[in-house]
Symmetry: C2
Subunit: 350 residues, 2 copies
DNA sequence: TGTTAGCACTCGTCCGATTTGAGTGCTAAC
DNA sequence: GTTAGCACTCAAATCGGACGAGTGCTAACA
């Protein structure tokens, strides 16, 4: 079942060609390029074999052939040449990322934008998972009459806030804040359980705060902390889909954009689409989503130390420039990892 | 130059029809609806007049006629019937907005989503302008080695944060935080000038903090506060463009989506497109943007008290359902105003 | 004078037939 | 094993006629 050297060569030429043009490629076109020095008839025979073996398919009798999912998979695994990004591209990336790195979410969004412009495909990034973050500080602020605000800051520099409805005085808020920080500052979010909340509650009540207020605030705080890991996803450059002939049909484009709009689904696909080691590549049906049958998804982790915080993914037509996308993602995730490492090297250990 | 009763009637029927179908409407179709009891020939004569007067245009000789920008403008100003939103729609809106109103930006984003689903057009909202906000609290936190975070919370419940590079100890950060709040808490952001910063700086230096650290932190804080009013814009349901025949051509759709992606431009258009009183309606070329020549933009303010915080806009084809969009925006902005009023009734006065 | 029936004319769209051309598979010869 | 050659296939492009929606104009009518 192994492919002869020559078949591999031909398959590679076909896929390279198809990636460039999106047109089925025929035997004559290949033989003309005479890298192989074979006549079109010979190529035809080989192509027929490749089709039998499942690497190619014919859209119809009198068209050329296009790669099947299997063909792409073989290409990605065995044939593809490593892509070398241009020095200017690398330079731009370095410069852009250096500019405003000091906000974790800004950094991620920026990374997404850069990836889009580097690859010209749609980029999706998941926001950093905060579930295993260390709390730097919690604030409870009395705001307008009957409302208060909870602010949680993690060591990694992530700030989340939420308003709650509760009658509370500034003094009470300050006191509760004090207690919260005494117990929770420096603690990892998923180590916080109801017991710790109860301890704080009794301490607060002892210091004379209305038990009902304490109860309301602390249950909201607890709820908020446990909900911190809600994963969000940013989509970038979705409109780029429209530039590829695969989506020349407005209905196709609409289907894809509708799919992208469904965040939950998208997150699921991105999380699924990933094997542990570095880059995850899902081709066509491998994505297990009808809407992505004609598309591929490539993902990488971005990490803090050994811990994966989230993912950056690129979605494009199945005939995407895999080598370039992989190179881009590799480069950018490497950069992010380094930046995060520098910024928060003391985070992440209990 | 006035339009006779009958011409107005005819114009109205034509526009109503065209809004529904996107097809040029002919004289026969109108006469068939016999609301007017006129023959097609008579209608034809009237339509020819309306064309001469600039209210209608012909795509080509043997098609019906479609409204011109002038025609739409007349329709919007004089002919359009008030649209009554369904009770279920109103109920949904009320319920949705009630649910998680406690975050200003969440509220606005949600409003945008609701508007999209109510109107089925693309919605753009500008984030609340913070320039004339009252500061509730400022925090400076020492984070990882060599970095600190500035957090500003406004009375209206807006939280913004930024990381900065500076060598600072926790004690120093706490001290600076104390001073910042003593001077700035309760102050409106645009009342803060360099003098106040200098005062804080000297106080901080007096209390023994490294002058260089003080200088770095305070200049960053000042920079941050003055940059608070950077206006952002959220786009919702852009893909809905694709469902209208106006954008059946992928290139047209692409042009529009490209335009929407250019945030600066978009903000400019939205801000321009607004006259002070309530709803702003810009039809086609009135938008002063090539990309919007075939689209209309309707905007409303959302307010806190009398102060406009930002805008909600709807972009759709020129033949959009103006009455419905206006009714929706009216309703939703009214709701938001009320919610904001309730939440932050004590904000906004120096 | 305003309205309408009638008619010639325009012009985009639809539809079927034809042509074109890229590409294939097979065969026979080298 | 390779290749030239040829018949065959089939989507896409081209062409042309029919169709029909719609117009403008004219003449007749109330």
């Amino acid at each position: 079942m192994d492919l002869s050297e020559r078949k591999q060569k031909i398959l590679q030429v076909i896929i390279d060609e198809y990636i460039g043009t999106a047109e089925p490629v025929g035997s004559r076109a290949i033989s003309k390029r005479n890298e192989l020095g074979l006549s079109s008839a010979t190529i035809r025979n080989e192509m027929a074999d490749l089709e039998d073996m499942g690497y190619l398919v014919k859209p119809h009798t009198s068209a050329g052939r296009i790669p099947s999912d299997v063909g792409y998979r073989f290409y990605v695994n065995s044939l593809m040449q490593k892509y070398q990004l241009g020095v200017e591209a690398i330079e731009v990336l370095r410069r852009e990322l250096a500019e405003k790195v000091n906000q974790l979410d800004t950094l991620i969004k920026k990374a997404s934008i850069i990836t889009s412009s580097l690859t010209e495909y749609t980029t999706v990034v998941t926001s950093p998972m905060l579930s295993r973050s260390v709390i730097k500080k919690i604030d409870v602020l009395a705001m307008a009459q009957g409302t208060a605000m909870i602010i949680v800051i993690t060591k990694a520099g992530f700030v989340k806030n939420r308003m709650i409805s509760v009658d509370i005085t500034e003094a009470e808020a300050t006191r509760i804040t004090e207690l919260l920080n005494r117990f929770f500052s420096g603690v990892m979010t998923d180590e916080i359980d109801e017991n710790s909340v109860i301890m704080i509650a009794s301490a607060a009540v002892e210091s004379g705060i209305n038990p009902k207020t304490v109860q309301t605030v602390l249950s909201k705080v607890y709820e908020f902390i446990t909900a911190l890991d809600e994963c969000d996803v940013y989509i970038n450059n979705a409109r780029s889909m429209l530039q590829y002939p695969e989506f020349a049909d407005v209905d196709k484009a609409r289907e894809m954009l509708d799919f992208l709009e469904n965040r939950d689904n998208l997150i699921k696909i991105i999380e699924n689409g990933h094997n542990t080691d570095g880059v995850g590549i899902k081709i066509g049906k491998e994505n297990n989503a009808k809407e992505l049958e004609n598309s591929s998804l490539i993902t990488v982790d971005y990490r803090l130390g050994s811990r994966s915080l989230g993912k950056i993914g690129v979605i494009g037509p199945k005939r995407m420039n895999y080598a370039k996308v992989i190179a881009s993602l590799d480069l950018i995730s490497g950069h992010i990892d380094k930046i995060l490492e520098e910024l928060y090297s003391n985070e992440g250990e209990g």
